[in-house]
Symmetry: C2
């Protein structure tokens, strides 16, 4: 049976625990989390594309290679990214994993690590290892909520989504959790995302599902266009639902991927909504493009434009900036055949001003969610991308984050 | 003789005038400017790389083709970009040029136009053409200052630089003026830049000089990473200094290009210093790179990072964000062999924290100018890039610019 906790279903065999290691420079509360699967799980991992890679990424990559993508525990901390910390940082990450393995009598390579927080500050391993006995005692499905809060940095709320679906003759559960909230432009990117399922999955499908899920969710959002050197997504499948292993082909694989992607999109949008200083989320939808690649490039360019994002903060229906940002995408398209809609109102028609009630559109733009549609006449391809507004609070948060 | 006006030398044969057409949505004052050369001049033009191109760019491009890169007048307006204005916008731009040509009895293609301001609002040509008789009466070298103010939008100060040098047996003068101050990430970008010289230049050298000057100045700055659809740089050489035409090869060509580039760099840095809401300018200098291309990519990525720019606003010596932004440049380099200096203090040594006085560096970072040096051990190539801090005022300006 999966455990229901405040409407969150926890997949079978996954246990959670959080504790306070005093790693945060601002505020207090739990900042170290442990996630444990009762049996070894198959694991897919996606890491940042930043040339600078945090120590926990280097170590986890090594562990995954040695374990052939199996793991039983994830040890996470917030407050310190353990990044740009040299050989000392790698020793600290390795030591944390080794101590956890010792405690559970599992192999060190079956422990993955993840860190988020300030870059360039040495991590004292004992702040984490000293908490391991207490973490082990507290392991419980309901602690998923404590863990979802322990991994946060500048986020203002936890992000957890779960779904239980009938699949391959069993009821299987998928649970995802993630954290933002700055340096967010995941190109497998400060974000951490953890996905757990009790479904049995074919080994090749675990990695493919993780990759395809990310491409349609975390890789389609931006808070500030900065890709973090700590971005990590793990997908763990422990097979405890008892189904026959699901492969990529066939209806079960399709349905699993679809549900996983929906969970990831909900988390990705929640991450943008909780972006540093954000007041509202915009979904950028490009339609009528010649190819999905073109549609994505246009949506991405609009989503990344500071001028579009500040107009959004001001609830200003400034379609000229949207068209100009599209023009900077580095792809061919005809701006003279472009229409732009803000929510349901056409504000730009064939590359020029459309007639609309400025006051009415402004009122709409003051909502929590805005849909920006760029409609071209170049083909049938579409793409979606999510971004947030760029506010004074973003500046306040980031002009004083570290010191 | 060149005319000295408040330490600005005006090249021989260039006359200036400004007037008020009521085009600005905020504030008052002159917003239309005319620049006139007493004889036809050779012209080089560089326009935005945005797929969306403003009407004055389309029209001027056509005029330059028809005139084989000769021109005698430039008609500029601020307050309205005449961009995304369709066929009406093109008619308005063409009409402005035609009326000016009629007044001076020159060919319409010898008149270039340039606009800056809000995108997507129809431009009423008569607001500009109605001012032409008054502008013609006011033409004068000293009006260069009035023109340098008339072309501004969110800029807080005019930007004019001139130099007079002995060259090819004559005293020749180069004058440059430019405006920013948002949507600044010129990849030939809302910027306008006008350069005038009385030197005689070989036709091929005019275009080469303009291109090389831009590559080392305007194409190395960013306020917000948004490239405007109106960016225009014109270089006009009218030959009135009486020298023999200068070619690219040889010492005179080198010296001319160097002086032109120094003027452009001064204007580019002034543009960044006057970036929307900016309090300080950072010069990013990458040293020890494998190639200039790699050095430029790294410098550009650091300069564009909102997290580096907000840390700069907070005078926070956050070298981790600098290293992380370099890591996102999309080029290969070893972060473990990177040193970072803020002004003269090494804050990062071999990819990790260096020992330094946090308080002392913070005090230094509160100045108007900051030097960020990333020193690699990959080779001998270097690159410079200029950026400004990202402040709450930037958000305030852009959340309410249009409405």
């Amino acid at each position: 049976m999966t455990k229901a906790t405040k409407n969150i279903q926890v997949p079978k065999g996954f246990l959670f625990a959080a504790a306070e290691g005093g790693l945060r420079t601002h505020g207090h509360g739990p900042d170290v989390a442990l996630i444990y699967s009762m049996v070894p799980a198959r694991v897919a991992a996606l890491f940042t594309t930043n040339r600078l890679q945090a120590a926990p990424i280097e170590i986890s990559r090594d562990h995954l290679r040695r374990s052939r993508h199996a793991a039983q525990a994830i040890l996470v901390n917030a407050g310190n990214a353990n990044c740009a910390t040299g050989a000392q940082g790698e020793r600290a990450a390795r030591q944390c994993a080794a101590k956890a393995a010792e405690l559970f009598r599992i192999r060190p390579e079956h422990v993955l690590v993840a860190s988020t927080g300030v870059i360039g500050v040495p991590l004292e391993a004992r702040r984490i290892t000293g908490l391991l006995p207490a973490l082990a005692r507290r392991l419980h499905p309901r602690a998923v909520h404590a863990v979802s809060r322990a991994i946060l940095t500048t986020d203002t709320r936890p992000k957890v989504v779960s779904r239980t679906i009938p699949l391959a003759g069993r009821r299987i559960t998928i649970l995802g959790m993630a954290k933002g909230a700055g340096m967010i432009y995941p190109r497998m990117a400060t974000m951490l995302g953890f996905f757990f399922t009790d479904a049995a999955l074919d080994p090749r499908f675990v990695q493919a599902a993780a990759r395809r899920m990310c491409a349609a969710s975390f890789n389609r959002i931006s808070v500030d266009g900065d890709t973090s050197p700590n971005d990590t997504v793990y997908l763990m499948a422990n097979g405890m639902a008892g189904n026959r292993a699901i492969t990529e082909k066939g209806p079960a694989g399709k349905k699993f991927l679809q549900t996983l992607t929906e969970i990831a999109q909900q988390l990705a949008i929640a991450m943008v909504a909780d972006g540093e200083g954000a007041h509202r989320v915009a979904e950028i939808r490009v339609e009528g493009a010649a190819s999905e690649k073109q549609a994505e490039a246009l949506a991405r360019s609009i989503a990344l434009s500071p001028l579009v994002k500040t107009a959004l903060a001001g609830a200003d229906p400034n379609w000229g900036r949207i068209l100009s940002a599209a023009g900077n995408a580095g792809v061919e398209f005809d701006p003279r055949r472009a229409d732009i809609y803000l929510n349901r109102v056409r504000v730009c028609r064939q590359g020029g001003a459309a007639k609309f009630s400025e006051a009415a559109v402004q009122r709409q733009l003051r909502g929590k969610q805005v849909l920006i549609r760029l409609v071209l006449q170049g083909g049938k391809a579409t793409a979606r991308f999510w971004t947030c507004d760029f506010t004074k609070e973003y500046i306040r948060i980031n002009a004083s984050y570290r010191t």
